[in-house]
């Protein structure tokens, strides 16, 4: 390990640039003569459009053009694609409804893009949008799952999906699970609401599109989680042009959380307009627009049942869920409540039989898609609340019940009843470490002391496990310049995590060169040959392992050159500490000299010039990060206010590449998790379908004062599924936190007889739960 190598808490190489305001986000980039695009959103949740009159808008000052879907259709522009189609349980395929960039005859959610104005200034574009006259004929709308499932509910897509059920999907062994429940000693049941979340990235979505007449090429600058996917979708599905006619550049990205993976309406209009009007087109979402048309997250209701024997061993798990995916299918929307997360419902436990049944529902709301965790937080929330409830109902302490049922270290690799093969873990050991660090033994004493101060103290535990960083590989390109500078070109996309730092660390570690000599390039499809992008906590486990695989190939190439310089056989050359040497001797040549020789035809020998390599690396399987969150809270019974007292995390994320950045991922993730649990809720009005939480005034984000100081530690249990032994860290914090905080609130409120509360557990809701429990006990 070098000074700046793997495992060191190296400070982020990105920070100087960001902290001095030198970052380049989409909105920082401007092109000469650019025009501004503004989108007119639907004010109705469900309505037929009988006509759109753009005459006045077109005549307004500064307006260059006004577009509707009729214009896009006339140009042959493709609809937004869907990539996930979980089949019906009877085998029928999922019907994918058309999703045009601008409404085609009907709007289906408040905020759906209806028309677009392009003008010389944003103010003129906005003012002109007010002059577009849309003749709407309002239709009945439905915004929540329960209402959408009722007989006679308004149909979001007519008869395409009867009962608003997009697909009725299943997973697991229904018969075996039924048998397990029949021999159960006890069945514990829970009904949960997984509240709808708005993703609220600090940098809203945006796009700057330009068309070059000479090369007939589109360039789109857009913050994303992977520019190659966007390029492919634009070329194949939207514009229907060869791949080389589209270039996508993702500059700095200010937070994505899943949402910036997707293809949205507005950039399509920007790209089309750039060719149509012959000028660069800038579009930036404002915050209100983000709330309305970013793909939301979560929004499920779950009914779960756990069958246990008389000793508290889990026999079977049965879950029936409804997932709201909104009015249209975003690319992976239908996968989130189904394929993406359901297989993790069995959690960290040996549950021999499990069966999951999911109805994917459509409603008159914005599309729902992946949001940090994408299905796994929902699964962990169900199982960890269910286990907690079982612990209460059976009178078995939470730790004991978990320990009994944990998958044991010797069980790995462990194939679960829902089909995943877990890689590695030492669950009981981590839970014990967390209990010790959180001083759970002293909790009852602390609870009694808090009670004297009028506080309801609660302790909540979750043991999460999640699946990430499997699937497709990544293919980085690494090359040395003649002056010894290393360039890493890779198709993952940093959204603020600090990828440049970690990739550079991995290379610095291998080559023994300072991090300052390493440049990481990403985001531009012209510079980066291929890329899968960032998502599912894959960048460092997969991208990092791919960088490692590629640099090993470079070292082999270096050995060939060194063998020529040292006049030895390449097999006898080894590379260590920045030098190639003949094994067993002191004869060596430095990396610098080998780089120099690689460009020198006289010296490098009979090998290709330069020192570079490209290598594809795909992981052997998914990784299963896991860990224990222990949350201790005080609830003020008189006001319902909640205060964090302690928050302990003991994680297993495999080998830590950079503990500082890893902690950053976990802390930020955990705050997002507790945000969902305590504050955040995207609410549509049931009557009108209006988004009630359309600004930060109504959509409650957690703030620094609402967050605990995390007591963090980790245990490195490497995964065999990638060469670096890393488990993904990007989503783990979010997945573990939500159930831990929820369990803590319920534990606190159990003192006054509250047994259930749904998220978000706001001060008001906590207080109301206390009040109604007290008035019940008084009655």
């Amino acid at each position: 390990m070098g000074n700046f190598g793997i495992g060191q808490a190296v400070r982020r190489v990105e920070d100087k640039r960001f902290l001095t305001g030198a970052g380049q986000y989409t909105d920082d980039i401007n092109k000469p003569g650019q025009l501004y695009l503004h989108i007119l959103h639907s004010p109705h949740a469900h309505a037929d459009i009988s006509s759109i009159d753009t005459t006045a808008a077109k005549a307004a000052p500064g307006v260059v053009g006004v577009l509707t879907q009729a214009d896009l259709d006339a140009l042959g522009i493709g609809d937004i694609l869907n990539l996930a189609a979980p089949p019906h349980k009877d085998g029928r395929a999922l019907e994918v409804p058309a999703r045009p960039a601008l409404a085609r005859g009907r709007v289906r959610y408040v905020g759906e893009p209806v028309a677009a104005v392009v003008a010389d200034t944003l103010a003129n574009a906005k003012d002109a949008a007010d002059l577009i006259e849309v003749d709407y004929k309002e239709l009945p709308a439905v915004v929540d799952i329960a209402d959408a499932a009722k007989p006679g509910a308004p149909l979001v897509h007519g008869t395409e999906a009867p009962g608003n059920v997009w697909t009725h999907w299943q997973l697991g062994d229904e018969a075996a699970t039924k048998a397990a429940f029949e021999k159960a000693h006890k069945v514990v049941k829970i009904d949960l609401i997984n509240n709808r979340i708005a993703p609220t990235a600090m940098e809203p979505r945006g796009a700057l599109a330009e068309y070059d007449v000479a090369t007939e090429r589109y360039t789109l600058i857009q913050g994303s989680q992977g520019s190659h996917k966007l390029r492919d979708w634009f070329a194949k599905n939207i514009l229907k042009v060869p791949l080389d006619k589209v270039r996508v550049i993702s500059p700095d990205v200010g937070g994505a959380f899943g949402m910036k993976n997707f293809l949205f309406n507005e950039p399509i209009v920007a790209v089309v307009a750039s060719k149509l009007y012959g000028k660069p087109i800038k579009w930036m979402a404002d915050r209100a627009g983000s709330f309305l048309n970013d793909a939301h997250g979560r929004d499920q209701i779950n009914h779960a049942e756990l069958a246990l024997d008389k000793d508290g061993m889990f026999l079977g798990l049965r879950v029936s869920s409804f997932g709201n995916v909104g009015a249209y299918l975003s690319q992976f929307g239908a996968a989130i409540p189904t394929m993406a997360g359901c297989a993790m419902l069995v959690g960290a436990y040996r549950t021999p039989a499990a069966y999951v049944d999911v109805r994917v529902m459509m409603t008159n709301t914005a599309p729902v898609d992946a949001y940090r965790g994408a299905g796994r937080p929902e699964a962990a929330y169900v199982m960890e609340r269910l286990v907690d409830k079982a612990s209460r109902e059976l009178g078995i302490p939470a730790a004991e019940l978990r320990r009994k049922n944990f998958i044991r270290p010797e069980d790995f690799p462990y194939k679960t009843a829902l089909g995943h093969k877990y890689d590695s873990g030492r669950y009981a050991e981590l839970m014990d470490a967390a209990y010790k660090r959180a001083d759970v033994a002293g909790f009852e004493t602390r609870r009694a002391a808090a009670k004297k101060n009028g506080k309801l103290r609660g302790l909540g535990i979750s043991y999460y496990v999640e699946a990430c960083a499997g699937g497709q590989g990544e293919q980085p390109h690494l090359k040395f310049d003649a002056d010894g500078k290393l360039t890493i070109i890779i198709g993952t996309q940093d959204n603020g995590q600090g990828h440049r730092t970690v990739y550079a660390q991995i290379a610095a570690d291998a080559f023994g060169i300072p991090i300052e000599n390493i440049v990481v390039k990403q985001g531009d499809t012209d510079e980066v040959p291929t890329g899968v992008g960032t998502g599912g906590s894959r960048s460092i486990p997969v991208g990092g392992s791919a960088v490692r695989a590629t640099l090993l190939k470079m070292i082999e190439h270096g050995k060939d050159i060194a063998s020529n310089l040292l006049e030895a056989s390449a097999q006898d050359i080894e590379f260590d500490a920045g030098a190639f040497k003949i094994a067993g001797t002191d004869r060596k040549v430095s990396l610098k000299d080998v780089i120099g020789a690689s460009f020198d035809d006289a010296k490098r020998g009979d090998v290709k010039p330069g020192l570079y390599a490209a290598e594809t690396y795909a992981p052997a399987g998914a990784t299963f990060p896991n860990g224990c969150h222990i949350c201790e809270v005080d609830v003020d019974a008189e006001t319902g206010e909640l205060e964090f007292v302690n928050y302990t995390i003991q994680d297993d994320l495999g080998y830590a590449m950079n503990p500082l950045l890893m902690e950053g991922q976990i802390f930020g993730g955990a705050v997002q998790g507790l945000g969902q649990c305590l504050f955040e809720h995207a609410v549509y009005d049931k009557e009108t379908g209006q988004l009630m939480t359309g600004s930060f005034m109504d959509y409650t984000m957690p703030r620094a004062g609402n967050t605990p100081r995390f007591n963090y530690a980790y245990t490195e249990v490497p995964t065999p599924n990638n060469t670096l032994g890393i488990k993904g860290a990007g989503e783990a914090g979010t997945i573990g936190a939500t159930p831990a905080v929820a369990n803590a609130v319920i534990d606190a409120l159990s003192a006054v007889g509250v047994t259930h509360i749904d998220m978000p557990m706001t001060g008001l809701k906590i207080w109301q739960a206390i009040q109604s429990a007290q008035s019940k006990s008084a009655a």
């Binding site: 944003l122 006001t639 009557e687 004062g705 609402n706 001060g763």
Partner: protein, 329 residues
């Protein structure tokens, strides 16, 4: 269209006389801007469209905290951060320092002023979104309708409008018997805090007595309550950068034998003006400061409350805060 400020003329006078002349010249078309933390949002939302904005931040005479023979004088343009950190305020009127420190966020307190904080307009979101409600000069109240969202609205003193005072410091001013010094081209006048704030029954378009030509100069805090036992608590959905659902400010003098000699207790966010709780004061005066007194006082705190559809919770919340103020200060 939102988010774009309409055009206005900006004036940044360096002295009061110039400012007063400008105010007289533009009359109701002028907008006085203190820290600007609220003003700019009004403009961006295009809910207020002044012709002229008079930025008072260049007038040095409006800034600073001074000790006088009678107590303390705080310039209206003194920032909340300065008040929260001022050693004299902290020592003598900790109540005000605490309340100033609970306003919004550190960034806003660094720029936001005490004059702006006490004089800020209603936070009813119907009004804020530019609807033509009574307060905006129209003829309806959206928050008070059966469908209206009125979780944040008033328990007391509704008169067509159901908005509340959102200020964290205004209740403190009433509790400490502060005086407000107001200047106009016609001269200077001084009003006690409970006359400075006005409800919709008096003037539905104003939250304070300030008229277009008026500038709030100084807030005087008399020595009377210096060093008293204070209690301040604010309950909000979030514990930073949020408006109160209910807040309470009390100043209490307790004799050596534990008997409450004198008290002023005021709640915010339950009425359009800070609500002084006279009944509570009468009950506790002459009683020992203990749980029983506090419980008794709390039971009368919300007497006469007329809750709306979604704000019943404010009644027990208010009662509990009053109980704590009596018991724990």
């Amino acid at each position: 269209m939102k988010d774009m400020m309409p055009k206005f003329d900006l004036f940044q006078p360096a002295d009061i006389e110039t400012a007063l002349k400008l105010l007289d010249k533009y009359g109701a078309k002028a907008w006085k801007m203190a820290g600007g933390q609220d003003s700019l949002d009004w403009f961006k939302d295009r809910a207020k469209r002044p012709d002229a904005v008079i930025d008072l931040s260049g007038i040095e005479a409006l800034k600073g905290i001074r000790e006088t023979a009678a107590g303390l004088e705080i310039g209206a343009m003194t920032t909340l951060a300065e008040i929260a950190a001022n050693p004299i305020v902290k020592e003598k009127f900790g109540l005000l320092a605490t309340a100033a420190g609970r306003v919004a966020s550190p960034q806003i307190r660094t720029v936001g002023t005490i004059g702006g904080n006490v004089s800020q307009d209603a936070r009813c979101w119907y009004y804020r979104s530019g609807l033509d409600c009574y307060r905006a000069g129209g003829n309806t109240c959206y928050a008070g309708t059966p469908q209206g969202m009125n979780r944040e609205h008033c328990l007391f003193g509704a008169s067509r409008c159901v908005a509340v005072t959102p200020s964290d410091t205004a209740p403190v001013m009433v509790a400490l018997e502060a005086e407000f010094v107001i200047r106009s081209s016609k001269g200077e006048r001084v009003l006690p805090a409970d006359k400075y704030f006005i409800g919709p029954a008096v003037n539905i378009t104003h939250m304070t007595v300030l008229e277009p030509g008026d500038i709030l100069m100084t807030i005087r805090i008399p020595s009377k309550w210096a060093g008293a036992k204070f209690y301040y608590e604010k309950v909000a959905d979030r514990n930073t950068w949020d408006f109160p659902l209910v807040n309470v400010a009390s100043a209490m003098k307790v004799k050596a034998d534990g008997v409450i000699e004198d008290i002023r207790i005021v709640c915010g966010a339950v009425e359009c003006v800070p609500r002084r709780l006279n009944a509570v004061e009468d009950i506790v005066k002459g009683s020992p400061q203990n749980e029983d007194t506090a419980t008794l006082a709390a039971s009368s705190a919300a007497r006469g409350a007329a809750p709306l559809n979604f704000n019943h919770f404010k009644i027990p919340l208010m009662e509990n805060l009053v109980k704590r103020a009596i018991r724990d200060s």
